[in-house]
Structures are given as structure tokens and as C-alpha cells.
Amino acid sequence: MLRNATHAVVVGAIAALFAAAPATAQQKSVKIGFITTLSGPQGVIGEHMKNSVELALDHLGRKMGGLPVEVIYGDDQFKPDVGVQVAQEMLSKHQVDFVSGIIWSNVMMAVSPTVTSKGKIMVGTNAGPSPLAGAQCNKLHINVSWQNDQTPEAMGKYMQDEGINDVYIMAPNYQAGKDMLTGFKRYFKGRIVDEVYTKMGQSDYQAELSQLRAKKPKAVFVFYPGGMGISFLRQYSEAGLRSQFPLYSVYTVDEITIPAVKHAALGQIETRYWSPDLKNAANQKYVADYRKKYGKWPVFYGAQSYDGMLLIDSAVRATKGNLKDTDALIRAMRKADFSSIRGKFTFGNNNHPIQNFYLLKTVAGPAGQDPVMEIQKAVFTNHKDAYAGECKLKW
């Protein structure tokens, strides 16, 4: 009898301990799980994102709304299934309040439902796959970067306005590659010579470039992020195609690829929502401090991860640290009430940004240094993504 009573008390005490633990932990600190690719060839992108998260925490004094911040980093190894495992561990073992990060659209498609189905907020800081902006939008999924189609839409509009015709378009064969070419075609109404999808992670493009030359297009538009872009640009220049067919791109030339290709990037035209030379106080502070702390130029992957942390901070402050009220948190986030590196922007009903897009050109840098990207003009102001109408969310 006595043994049974002791037993019950012990069980009760343990149960109480477990029930209480998350609650007290939540009130004492803000826990953020940040998932990105930290190993393998694409690890360099993750390094920039992690650096920018750390810089944001430095700027915030390692506190959000008076609560200390703890960021747990996870490596998705460029694989959707690993991304899901990492997210599950963060949610169950570390009891994080927010999950953030994610470079790849296919990883995001797998991770976001894992997070939102547990009632936690997913703050995307790169991938913007179309389903999550449209039919599969979720009130707990918020994206602080862009919807995939938006950037190529800007390039499509620019090339349409320039009266360029007979364009050859190429991208890797995965969700974002398809979104990019779809976005391009939404605003470019001229003739498309051919639409080519290559293998994800491919390093040799010689076979595709031979096909391209035989088709004699007037211009070429591509999307090749990370290492794929480095290979593609090198081989495009080496094959002598740069002087024959002008090359336009999105997410192919950036501050990560320029040091590896240098002059092969000169003259390259891109569209983007942000660039290190964007003139606003928040951006100038971010760029200057990033260069001081890490000794290199920041890249958009990092810039939007920095914004992701400021966005979470704005919500934690607005709700006075009540991290259990996800509804209030997401409503606060939707106000975008923080000094973004891109200047003022708003969120659409689908929790994706409505923002400006600029035309960038790679120009020679200061003597003895790598080329830099410069903003030429705005292509879109307050540009909304094409899928917001399919999203049923109302605020």
C-alpha cells in the first residue's frame, strides 16, 4: 500500500516536472532552430547564413524582448529527409519556439509541414516554393525572403521591355528550377527557343552548351545557384559563348560565386530584391559590420537570414515574450515592423513579402579587388507574388 502510494507520488512528480519544464524554459529564453546546409559543396551558403544570424544576435545584444536567445543550428546536408529529421529533433528534444532557415525548395516542402503541424512557426529565410505561397499556404509559415517566381519575373519583364526575342532558358531539374522558368515566362512574352532542365548538382554543361550554340538564340536566361553557377559561368566563357549570346541570370552570380569566377562574371545582368549597395541605414550597418567581422562581402542568403532574426525579435517584443501565443506572434510578424536590410516592405495575405526588385550588373571592383554587383534601376516596386490569390488565408 505504502509502496503504491510512493509510486504514485513519484510518477506524479515526474509528470509535473515534464509538464512544467517546457513552460518555464519558454519563459526564460527564446529558442530558435536554424536549419541550413552546413556540410558538402553547398556548405558555403550555410556558413554565410549562420554568420548573418550571429551578427543579428550581436546587434540585438543576444536578447529578444528582454529574453536571452538560444539558436540551435541544424545541417540538412542538402537532403529533404535529413531536414525533416533535424526539424523533428529541434521540436521534440530542444523544444524550440521557432524554426528558421532552409536554402532549398525541396527541403522546405518537406520541413515546413513538419513544423506547422506541431503548431510552431516556420520562418523561411531563402526557399520560396510556389505551393507554400499558394494552395498549401499556412498561417504559421512566414517567408522573409521572396517567392521563387518573383525574381525571374523581374528579369522576364526587363527582357520583355528591352524587346529581346528568341531566348534559350535553362535551370536545374527541381522545384525551384521550375518555379524560376515559370516566373520568367509569366512576364516574358517573346519567343522561347528551348527550355532545358539539367540534373541537380551537375558540374559539366558542355553537352548542353553545344546544343545551345547549335540553336543560335539571341539571348540566354539561366538559374544556376551555388557551385552549379560557378561551373556554368566558367564553361560558358571558356566555350566563347559570352560574346555570341548575351547571358542573363537569377541567383547565379552573387557575392559567393564572384570570388571563384572573377572576370568571367563581368557584365553579368541579374535581378534581385537586395544588393550590398542598397542605400538604407539598416543595410549599410549590416554590410559594414559583416565585412568587419568576417572579412568578406555578405550575400543575399545571409542578408535575409539577418532579417529573419530581426523579424522574430519584432514579434517577441510586440507580444512581450509570450511565446505560447503563436497567433499573436504571427500577427505581429505580418506587420514587418523592423528595420529591414531591403528597406520598407509588407507581407501579402500568404505571408510572403511584397517588395521591390532591382536590376543588378556586375562591374569591375576597386583596383586589385574582385568585381562587385551594382544596382542599375528598380524593375518592380511593391511586387506581389503570383500565387497569393490561390491562398485562402484572410487577416
Binding site: 531539374n173 558542355q206 553545344s210 546544343q211 547549335a214 557551385g227 560557378i230 561551373s231 571558356e238 566563347g240
Partner: protein
């Protein structure tokens, strides 16, 4: 027609590149009975050493020579320090241990040179393109890699078929125990073969440097194709590695170039647009499956 010739050249170029990697891998497998997943790391080491030595000496040729020597030394050290104890173990242990080596080399390279891709460029006398005939212009650097690859293949054939060392290598591939029983220092033979395999992988890596990306983990992407090559060609056989590399190089290149237009003539263009790229990236694995079904020993088995 010109386009077909150009694509055949592309296939040949990919093929000789794969051969340089496959030659070392297949010898190590055939003679030492060792599954070496870290072969791609030696490819990466070759590329990084070339970048470092070329920068240090300011000379492309000197960089190549030093990088080759460096890859040879690294290969021999890996064999002596890490792999010797693994010969008697089963293949799963070898896979685990050499997978560990991959992680080790990737991190080592990231610590020494950083995670960002390195800047590389072909030497000025190899950049630009060559007018072959008619309308066909081909990048000079790629022609050079074809020439070097074929020359190495010929040299390797000579060494393996006509020299005493080659005789030992062939004997080792057919019957290791007998070679050891005849008083040959099999340990030394293993170290030498592994070192030369590493140097060949390093050569492939440094030739890939100016056209692909020099970054941590660059070896793993190519390694999968190399395994397909040695399975198709027959494990342990240099001749098989050569044939397999050329077949895989051609099938992959021609598939990427012509499969979609070919499908479009049979089905609607919409179907070809979706099926073409997916099928093209699977083609070499389909080829491997067919070879395994019809000739499980590969096309040119070592122990005929």
C-alpha cells in the same frame, strides 16, 4: 552532323576524365580487394594541391608536377596509415572506414582553404578555342584533357602489359596468395599501386580544376559515376575501366544532348520535356543495370 561530332568529343572528354579516376579505383579493388570510397577525396586533394602549388610557384606546369607528386605521397600515406589494417576485414568495414576518410578530407580542406569555392583558371596558352573543321570550334583546354587522358591510357597499358611491375599487378589481380607465395613484397606493391592510383585521381582533379568547381566535397559527385564505370567495365580490369569510362561518358553526354529531341519525335513535346531530363540523368544507371543482368562480371572481367 557537326553537332553530333561535337557531342561525341564532349563524350570522349568526359570518358577520359572518368577513366583517370576509374583506373586507380579498379586496380585497388582488383588487387587489394579494397572498396575505397575515399578515391574521390584524392581527386579533390589533387585539385587543391594544384591550386596551392600553382599560386606558390606562379607556374601552371610546375603546379601540375608538384600536385601530382603531392597526390602520390598523400595516397601512399593514406595506404600506410589507414588502409593496411583493412585488407583482411570485410567490405562493410572498408566502406565505413573509407567513408570516414571522406569526411576527414572534406573537413581538412575546409579548414585549410575555407568552404568557399576557389578561383581557378586555365593557363592562357590553353584558353580560347580551336577551329577543328567547318563550323566546329572546340575549347582548347578540353582538347588538351582528351590528349592527356589518352596518353595516360596508352602509358598505363604499356606499364601493365609490358613491364615487370605490370606483370606483378596483373598477377596480383588474378591470384594474390600465389604472388605473395612466390616471394614478392606484396605490401610494397600495394603501397605503390595505391600511390599511383591516387596520382591518377589527382591528375583528374587538377585537370577538372579550371572547368568545374574546386570546393570541399567535389569528389563525391564524380565518384558515383566512377563506380558505375568500373561495374560496367569489370572490376579489376584496366581495359574494362577504359571501355567502361568511354561508354559511360558517351551514353551520359549523348543522352543529355539528344534524348529529349528524340523522345519528342515519338511522343508529344510536353511529355518529352518532363521525361527527357529525368531519363537522361538515369541513363548510365540503366546501362549499369542491364550490364549487371546480362554480364554480372562486367564487359571485360579481370579474371577471365
Amino acid at each position: 552532323m557537326i553537332l553530333v561530332i561535337e557531342q561525341a568529343l564532349n563524350g570522349l572528354q568526359l570518358g577520359v576524365m572518368l577513366f583517370l579516376l576509374a583506373a586507380g579505383l579498379t586496380l585497388v579493388f582488383g588487387i587489394m580487394n579494397l572498396v575505397n570510397l575515399a578515391h574521390g577525396s584524392l581527386y579533390m586533394v589533387g585539385a587543391y594541391l594544384w591550386v596551392a602549388f600553382a599560386q606558390l610557384t606562379g607556374s601552371y606546369v610546375l603546379g601540375v608536377v608538384l600536385a601530382l607528386a603531392g597526390a602520390l605521397v598523400v595516397g601512399m600515406l593514406v595506404e600506410i596509415i589507414a588502409l593496411r589494417t583493412l585488407y583482411e576485414r570485410d567490405h562493410l568495414d572498408q566502406v565505413l572506414a573509407t567513408f570516414g576518410l571522406i569526411l576527414f578530407f572534406n573537413e581538412l580542406v575546409a579548414i585549410l582553404w575555407g568552404r568557399s569555392a576557389l578561383y581557378t583558371s586555365a593557363p592562357s596558352w590553353l584558353s580560347g578555342h580551336v577551329e577543328l573543321f567547318g563550323d566546329l570550334r572546340y575549347p582548347a583546354y578540353r582538347l588538351a584533357t582528351i590528349a592527356v587522358g589518352l596518353a595516360v591510357a596508352a602509358l598505363l597499358w604499356y606499364v601493365v602489359a609490358r613491364t615487370r611491375l605490370g606483370m606483378l599487378v596483373r598477377a596480383g589481380a588474378s591470384n594474390r596468395t600465389m604472388v605473395a607465395a612466390l616471394g614478392v613484397n606484396i605490401r610494397l606493391l600495394y603501397t605503390v599501386v595505391f600511390g599511383f592510383g591516387a596520382a591518377l585521381a589527382g591528375l583528374a582533379g587538377l585537370m577538372a580544376g579550371p572547368i568545374y568547381v574546386v570546393e570541399p566535397g567535389m569528389g563525391e559527385q564524380v565518384l558515383i559515376q566512377v563506380f558505375v564505370v568500373i561495374v560496367v567495365g569489370g572490376i579489376g580490369s584496366i581495359r574494362g575501366a577504359f571501355a567502361g569510362a568511354l561508354i559511360v561518358g558517351m551514353v551520359d553526354t549523348l543522352g543529355r544532348a539528344f534524348l529529349k529531341p528524340a523522345l519528342a519525335t515519338i511522343w508529344s513535346p510536353v511529355v518529352a520535356d518532363t521525361a527527357g531530363p529525368a531519363l537522361a540523368s538515369m541513363l548510365i544507371y540503366l546501362l549499369m543495370a542491364i550490364v549487371l543482368a546480362l554480364r554480372p562480371e562486367g564487359l571485360f572481367p579481370a579474371r577471365a
